[in-house]
């Protein structure tokens, strides 16, 4: 009897009295039918595709509550839990997936280079195959609009801001000394080898609340998550040699590299305008370890150590014998970051960086020894409430200690120290109203213990997709930055400097062609002023400076029109004045030329197996001050012109011969003038032109990659 009952029950369940027909229609928000959507009951074989009218119909033998699913490319998956018997004439409206391609991008102010970013205007390869960059990650960015050409410095001058107004981050963590130590008029370069990075985001304004303590710009560099293969790279160039090796295991990898530079043989051959006593010499080593956890979390640990040493005699209008300057620098940088997913759509990104920087400086018979230790810790959490709404928040701690001992014979020994610590919190919401309209709103609060200030800065950006190929975006933000080391040494009573950005961006992208125009206005407040030639003990400091920068940045790139040729052109118009440092009134600083133009071309000649790159840089005259004139800073240098050329010849797939020359046409460029402190007998101040140390720089190199698969090479590092 019992068994009969069981059988009866089982039959009832098993045989599912007949079939149920599920019907309905799939459309988008506007009611336009979606053809080919996948319509089915979850966990069963029962389903169908929607037809030309968006309609569907299929039968099922399931009963009771079931999950009815509709999925389609670039739309969010739709789920309905209902009794199957009620699944008749369903009206399914699919929501566009705002994460899919073709969505609007919040991009005002920024340039991205990477495979994954939808608003990428450059690829990582572009950055390093640019002629004139000579393997320096930073130099290539100087061909983008918004930057001012200051090739005697080497750092980034963004939209009327000086080089200190740009901060650099690796994997979200601050880099404290991103540039090699150098002196006036000897251009520096980035400390990091280009092949460690897979992507770059260069923001020339209006950046996220995640970043602070920078008035003008933030450059984010992201290291490679997983190297493609095990390999050994060797580099032999006329100014040094280097090598690197990458090892891979199941879930982790290790890369090490080292580079030695010695300019002595080169400077023996090519005439220099400064007299080198000890030509530039540096030794650097880097290592990166990456580990992927079973939960997909990714840990990256980076360590870099760098020694540099040089001594030279710089011309000076005030002393016939020149100024003897010597520098020994040691820099240690450690960076560890972790990124992972937590439960319930939470993401975590956290990490810490540490830098120890020591300089032994000699200026004639004065010696200066300084030591700086810096630490950054960051924790950022992000919750995805839906594809339309994400909220992130985080906290940061910065510790910075500086000590300096300056010995001036016949005067005294001066000891200076300070502890410049700050704590910041930030939060930001990302809202996609639709695939076409997105908003980001954020706020950042910071407290600095040295200067004892607390500041709140709002940030916001909005983007609207006007057509499938174009969009406009707006950004606004307030930015604060603590005074620099040269001021903090002598004064800790100041307020931070402040800027506000207003940005309007237009972007057009069509299959290999990009046009980007961005107009901006930036106001400066509370800029630091002092009453001596340079900040020194006894200078009177105040926050009474101010200024503005307004301009238009244009970028055009085309990879399609001419076969094997890629090129981009950037133009920046900049109108800026500021009253800062020891300026008597508002004036345009020396680094800010009104017009900057770059034209970058890369031509691949298949038959020669050669990549030929050229870069043309133009800047209008740069302002300088002539004490013989009554108006401050009202003179202009001649225009700046340079054509850089490089040729990479692929001997075989893994061996590259490389040649480059900067300023190939040998233009005679002047950056600035130095005037004597005292007038001559006729009451005139005499002057000296500040020019490059050498008009041209030649690089000849051989790059060899050894790997099992024999396909990789170092073209992307040149």
């Amino acid at each position: 009897m019992k068994s009969k009952l069981t059988i009866a029950l089982l039959l009832l369940v098993y045989n599912l009295s007949g079939q149920i027909n599920i019907t309905g229609k799939v459309t988008d928000k506007k009611g336009i039918p979606i053809i080919g959507a996948n319509v089915y009951l979850e966990g069963t074989y029962d389903g169908s595709s929607s037809d030309e009218t968006g309609s569907f119909s299929f039968t099922t033998s399931e009963t009771g509550q079931q999950n009815f699913i509709v999925s389609f490319l670039s739309f969010e998956t739709y789920t309905l839990n209902k009794d199957v018997s009620e699944m008749k004439n369903l009206n399914v409206i699919l929501k566009e997936d705002v994460n899919s391609l073709g969505s609007v991008v919040l991009n005002a102010g920024s340039f991205s280079a990477g495979d994954n970013s939808k608003a990428s205007v450059l690829t990582p390869l572009d950055i390093v195959t640019t002629a004139g960059s000579a393997g320096d990650y930073i130099a290539a960015l100087q061909t983008l609009p918004g930057t001012s050409n200051a090739s005697e410095d080497g750092r980034l001058f963004v939209r009327g801001g000086d080089a200190n107004e740009t901060n650099i981050y690796i994997d979200g963590l601050r880099v404290f000394q991103p540039f090699l130590a150098t002196t006036n008029n000897i251009p520096t370069r980035g400390r990091f080898s280009p092949f460690l990075f897979k992507g770059t985001n260069f923001s020339t304004g209006g950046y996220s609340a995640e970043f602070g303590d920078a008035l003008s710009s933030v450059l984010q560099l992201n290291t490679i998550d997983e190297p493609d293969q095990e390999k050994t790279d060797l580099q032999f160039i006329n100014v040094g040699l280097g090598g690197g090796n990458t090892q891979k295991w199941d879930n982790s990898s290790l890369s090490v590299n080292a580079f030695y530079i010695n300019l002595k043989p080169y400077q023996g051959l090519i005439e220099q305008r400064v007299k080198w006593i000890t030509p530039y010499e540096s030794l650097s080593g880097e290592t990166v370890y990456r580990h992927k956890f079973s939960n997909d979390g990714l840990l990256k640990v980076y360590g870099g150590l760098n020694y540099a040493n040089f001594e030279l005699i710089q011309d000076d209008i005030n002393t016939t014998e020149g100024v003897n300057f010597g520098l020994k620098n040691r820099n240690l940088y450690l960076n560890a970051s972790y990124k992972g997913n937590l439960k319930n759509d939470w993401d975590i990104a956290t990490g810490a960086s540490f830098a120890n920087d020591e300089n032994d400086i000699k200026i004639d018979d004065t010696t200066v020894d300084d030591t700086e230790n810096s630490f950054h810790f960051k924790l950022k959490l992000r919750k995805r409430f839906s594809n339309q709404f994400k909220l992130s928040f985080g906290a940061e701690q910065f510790l910075n200690t500086f000590s300096e001992k300056a010995e001036i014979p016949s005067i005294d020994t001066f000891n200076t120290t300070y502890d410049n610590h700050s704590t910041a919190v930030f939060t930001e919401a990302n809202i996609f109203f639709s695939k076409k309209l997105a908003l980001q709103v954020g706020v950042r609060g910071v407290h600095n213990t040295l200067l004892n200030y607390s500041k709140i800065s709002p940030r916001t950006s909005l983007a609207y997709k006007t057509t499938s190929k174009s969009q406009i975006s707006l950004a606004y933000g307030d930015f604060y930055q603590a005074p620099q080391q040269d001021v903090l040494k002598y004064n800790s009573m100041l307020e931070p400097e402040k800027s506000s950005h207003y940005i309007l961006n237009y972007l057009y992208q069509d299959n290999g062609r990009t046009f980007r125009a961005e107009g901006y206005y930036k106001s400066y407040k509370s800029l630091i002023k002092f009453d001596t030639e340079i900040p020194e003990f006894g200078s009177n400091f105040n926050n009474n400076g101010d200024g503005y920068a307004a301009g238009l940045d244009i970028f055009w790139r085309d990879n399609k029109s001419i076969k094997n040729l890629e090129y981009w052109a950037s133009y920046s118009y900049l109108d800026t004045e500021r009253d800062y440092k020891n300026y008597p009134n508002r004036a345009t600083p020396n680094f800010a030329a009104k017009h900057n133009l770059s034209l970058v071309t890369k031509y691949w000649i298949k038959d020669w197996k050669s990549l030929i790159s050229t870069t043309y840089n133009f800047s209008s005259g740069r302002p300088y001050n002539d004490p013989n004139e009554s108006v401050f800073q009202n003179q202009k240098t001649r225009t700046f012109n340079a054509v850089n050329f490089s040729w990479a010849y692929l001997i075989s797939q893994q061996k590259i011969l490389y040649f480059s020359v900067s300023n190939a046409l040998d233009f005679n460029n002047v950056f600035n003038y130095q005037y004597s402190n005292t007038p001559d007998a006729n009451g005139n101040f005499s002057r000296r032109a500040i020019r490059p140390n050498a008009d041209q720089f030649f690089i000849l190199g051989f790059f060899w990659t050894i790997s099992d698969n024999k396909t990789d090479n170092q073209l992307d590092n040149l």
Partner: protein, 206 residues
């Protein structure tokens, strides 16, 4: 006892039924693909994959149909969409079958599709990855004819680019033909495609 037996026999019947449904579904999906309705095929593979759970094959084929479809279209956005979707399917497949040479070969093809549609952007970024995937697949299954054939085709392509003789890889194709002949599998619907591509790849050997 009797009850248990009855229930057991019913359960077996259910399993056999599910097995039959799987075979019917997969066969139908391949038919849809052959009759030039690839999107319907993808939808069906996806439905089977979701219903089956723990089976990498339907995900694998859903990805393959997307990848193969991109070779015939020009619209950049559609290509990127399909390849992204294909990568998601392959990621799902990988969670059910780790260290699977066939999935690696399919992933190599997916990356080749990126390179084929935009060589200047994806060539430098993905070439090393394609190579590594083929090498890993061959290390796992040295006699996999698809790994050998498509790796040879990939190498021939790069030999042509570098001005070298692609014929150096022709013996590999002969090897692939041999392994295609010997290929047998107990698992139904296990990948066995590729043999009909031999002629096309061999054109460079004339």
């Amino acid at each position: 006892m009797k009850t248990v037996l009855i229930i057991l026999s019913f359960l077996t019947a259910t399993t056999i039924n599910a097995q039959a449904a799987y075979e019917k579904g997969m066969t139908k999906a391949f038919e849809l693909w052959e009759t030039k309705t690839p999107d319907e095929a993808i939808n069906l593979f996806e439905r089977i994959a979701k219903a089956e759970k723990e089976n990498w094959l339907p995900f694998y084929y859903a990805a393959q149909v997307h990848i193969v479809t991109t070779f015939g279209i020009k619209d950049a956005e559609e290509i990127e969409l399909r390849l992204k979707k294909a990568q998601n399917f392959l990621n799902e497949a990988k969670t059910f079958s780790k260290n699977n040479a066939e999935i690696m070969i399919m992933e190599a093809m997916l990356n080749t599709a990126y390179v084929a549609y935009n060589p200047s952007v994806y060539g430098p970024a993905l070439s090393a990855k394609v190579e590594e995937l083929y090498q890993k697949a061959k290390a796992l299954q040295p006699k996999n004819p698809r790994a050998i054939l498509y790796h040879a085709e990939w190498k021939m392509g790069s030999a042509k680019f570098w001005g070298k003789d692609p014929k150096a890889f022709c013996p590999e194709i002969e090897k692939a033909i041999l392994y295609f002949e010997k290929e047998t599998h107990d698992t139904p619907f296990y990948p066995k495609w590729g043999k009909n591509q031999v002629k096309r790849v061999q054109q460079s050997c004339q």
